[in-house]
Symmetry: C2
Subunit: 303 residues, 2 copies
């Protein structure tokens, strides 16, 4: 089994996760949560989003959150920005990295960010040079890479095209998102092989949802295809808005267990990660979405 | 990705699954359940167990269940037997296949079947020739292949040895069980490679628990290692007795979704399988353990 020796885990719980939870969380709790995550050894944390507060009230406190966290050296705290206004707010808040969110599906782009794929790139073309000129790194997301909740199948060619456009804008890393969790391992392998003809493999990350239980199998396939950056959400935060009651983001604890078992170095401490997940689940009064956390409940250390 | 073209799914829900559920189910419900499963296209169903009824009251009705089901041509209904007495009862009930249950861990063997590994083989040595002489097929199980809840690590050499002993007794198929779900894909790959030096690969099956969320990734690794027989339990029936609240058997619906996605033929109908899972979960007043069933809830056909 051919696998990378080291994997970067990108923790998306505080942004992508919490944004899809029902509760709105006060900034002090988010700050505590993010500080617990940065203490685990994680080096990449998606911490906030600078989108219109009327659209996403859960994320209206991005500036307060970024001002309050204890910035740990070696950890990159990123924020999602949809446009120039978001970028400016994010830069005022001192982010070192912003994320641009594109879709491989026209209908999803319309439903999710209210513009066509081309329209989203018009905004990104304004944002990207401004960010890069200020030394802010760009990370790209492509959603619906394995299927779309509105239009079904999405061609790998379309995914490759959108990924390439984000790369050409200057994104140092582009995360391929199976937004509805419908993908299976061979499909993911073939997708990565095709996208890698357009963008260097080492610039790609994967972002899988566990809606159909396939996320870890898909991550295994991605690792075998040469991917070494994996997004995940502690405690599986963030349900699936397209299938109420179903799982969304794959749980970071379960990804870490997989990577540890494969002998892949991440630098992340399992007990501290589980404890961070317990902390936020307790606050949300929600059971953890991590099977590892459930199996080890009572055994992990308190922090 | 090198994968088998066809996989036999072995459904263990009615026996291994229900045995580990809290409720005791009347035989009429089990019969209905098994008949729904055989209508899905499944060709192997573990239907009953002939163990001491005081030890496992959930399974005391094996004879009634086997007498009541509609035997569908091409479907093998099997029963677990621990000893000669169990075998005789199973043969009276007309089973075509019996399962022998061995452990790769001495402590698990003691705790689970109250004798040493060698002691269990003394019983099997009595059962096996009797069964074979009557044309009853033997299937072997090896538990704790990736770890034991009492003694921790189990060497692959021990697993290979126990598997070989079952093979030498005449088992046409031996299922390697990760009883506590702790295994990860590289470990599983290496285990299968080692066991296959002792027993032909085409005689091996895998039986994974999803306690740590690793089951589908482990199944993918097993398929890549050449395994073409996979045990699973519809709706994920059968919790984990060693971690209350945690998952046990991997859900058949999720396995089928994986296999379908990989383009592997099983002959099993997804909608009918999901419906069979809904039927038993409704009876048990228990949420399904299948993520696929949850994601598709409301979309699957009623039967």
């Amino acid at each position: 089994m051919n696998l990378p020796r080291r994997v970067k885990m990108v923790e998306v719980g505080p942004r992508d996760g919490l944004q899809n939870e029902v509760s709105v969380i006060p900034p002090a709790v988010k700050i505590d949560f993010i500080d617990r995550l940065s203490a685990t050894g994680l080096t990449a944390i998606e911490a906030a989003s600078f989108v219109a507060p009327q659209a996403v009230p859960q994320m209206a406190d991005g500036a307060a959150v970024l001002a309050g966290i204890k910035r740990r050296p070696g950890v990159v705290y990123s924020a999602l920005v949809p446009n120039r206004r978001g970028l400016e707010a994010a830069m005022v808040a001192g982010v070192e990295e912003v994320a641009l969110f594109a879709a491989a599906s026209e209908s999803f782009s319309q439903h999710n960010i209210n513009c066509s794929i081309d329209g989203s790139f018009v905004r990104f073309a304004e944002v990207a040079p401004l960010a890069l000129a200020r030394g802010v790194r760009l990370r790209g997301y492509v959603s619906c890479v394995a299927g779309c909740p509105y239009e079904g199948a999405i061609t790998p060619e379309k995914v490759a095209e959108v990924t390439r456009r984000l790369f050409d804008l200057g994104c140092y890393e582009i995360s391929l998102g199976d937004t509805i969790g419908v993908g299976t391992p061979r499909q993911i392998e073939q997708l990565i092989q095709l996208v890698a003809t357009q963008v260097p493999l080492e610039r790609l990350a994967v972002h899988f949802h566990d809606t159909y239980g396939q996320a870890l199998a898909n991550i295994l396939a991605a690792l075998q295809a040469g991917i070494a950056v994996v997004d995940s959400s502690v405690a599986g935060l963030g349900g699936c808005p397209y299938a109420p009651g179903a799982s969304g983001n794959v749980a970071s604890e379960d990804v870490l267990y997989l990577l540890n078992g494969l002998g892949i170095d991440t630098g992340v401490d399992q007990d501290l990660l589980i404890a961070a997940g317990h902390f936020i689940c307790e606050y949300l009064h929600r059971p953890t979405g991590s099977k590892v956390a459930r199996a080890l409940a009572g055994r992990c250390v308190a922090v």
